[in-house]
Symmetry: C2
Subunit: 180 residues, 2 copies
DNA sequence: GTCTATATAGGGATAGAC
DNA sequence: GTCTATCCCTATATAGAC
């Protein structure tokens, strides 16, 4: 098994259980690898697995979400593509946000910088698109912040209710809403 | 030490670390009690501690947040009181939402019913207030949902950025925004 | 009501065979 | 590259003294 394959199978564990809840047993079951095999791929152990997962998701985020925001399509279309990809990534609201999951407990101390960085780039890129769509700079910044708040909040509510509807509605309405 | 005193000191542990990250060592340090003393108060161990914490916060929520929404003041004033209390409870955005923290890992299986219940009552009470303020029923329901999404999303973003500003702005603007 | 001591399981991590 | 076996530590939980 390649490192990349392993990382992909580790993602849902950190997402669902957070850093502290992602035990080696769970990581081992998710990959089908024994503990020692995991240590062969990730010599730094669990901390390196979490770092690799964050790195991988960061790359995906860069080449999928941020790239969608930077195309030459119309702003509304770019936001739609972003939302489609988010919808798939979060499995229509059934899957947690990795960033949210990791900001609990020890994970927050270990990975705060990366998480902060990803959020800041996302905010910047959203604000740039909105500015380009003719929205004044200050309002664009504010709406970019609101976009992330709405996505994250909808995920939290959907999980709390055990019902994906709030997330699905949010994703469907977000593109037009941000440009209104 | 009374059970209630103990519960109050346990709350921040579950909030910051989630159910799996809330180890007996941390719970013991937070209360200043040895493990056995904790078991004296909570015979069911960690699971009972989490249940007691949820129950306590649920009570606080009922007598503080929901009660504020049911007074005979003007709707705007009631929402303001709710937001003031939320601001204090979440320490201006520095503290996580207990419900969000517990919905990761094993805690979700154990406490999903209580969490769902609390969210549903909150949604209902918000929708009732908005209806009373003259907002059509369907829109009121939708905005109630949006209120919780905005609060939870702002908490997630604030924690991710390590900056309470998004939460503080949200709490300050929310009452007028919901009635607009 | 709190403590010390202890039991049992699971946690993270490593050595070395294949 | 994966395994078995093992290490030490921490986690949850209990017994019984004070």
């Amino acid at each position: 098994m390649s490192r990349e394959q392993a990382i992909r199978q580790l993602i849902p564990v950190f997402r669902r259980y957070g850093y502290e809840g992602a035990t080696l047993s769970r990581l081992s079951m998710a990959t089908g690898l024994g503990r020692s095999s995991l240590y062969h791929h990730f010599r730094g152990g669990k901390e390196e697995m979490a770092a690799a997962v964050l790195e991988y998701v960061g790359q995906w985020f860069e080449t999928t979400i941020l790239a969608a925001l930077r195309t030459r399509d119309e702003p509304l279309e770019r936001l739609r593509v972003m939302c489609e990809n988010l919808n798939e990534f979060y499995q229509q609201g059934q899957e947690n946000c990795l960033l949210n999951a990791i900001t609990f407990g020890e994970g927050n101390d270990l990975f705060h910088r990366q998480i902060e960085q990803m959020l800041k780039i996302w905010l910047d890129e959203l604000a740039r698109l909105l500015l380009e769509a003719g929205i004044p700079a200050e309002i664009a910044k504010h709406r970019a912040q609101e976009a992330i708040i709405l996505i994250q909040g909808a995920l939290v509510l959907a999980r709390g209710l055990g019902n994906t509807a709030p997330f699905e509605e949010m994703i469907a309405s977000l593109p037009e809403r941000l440009l209104a």
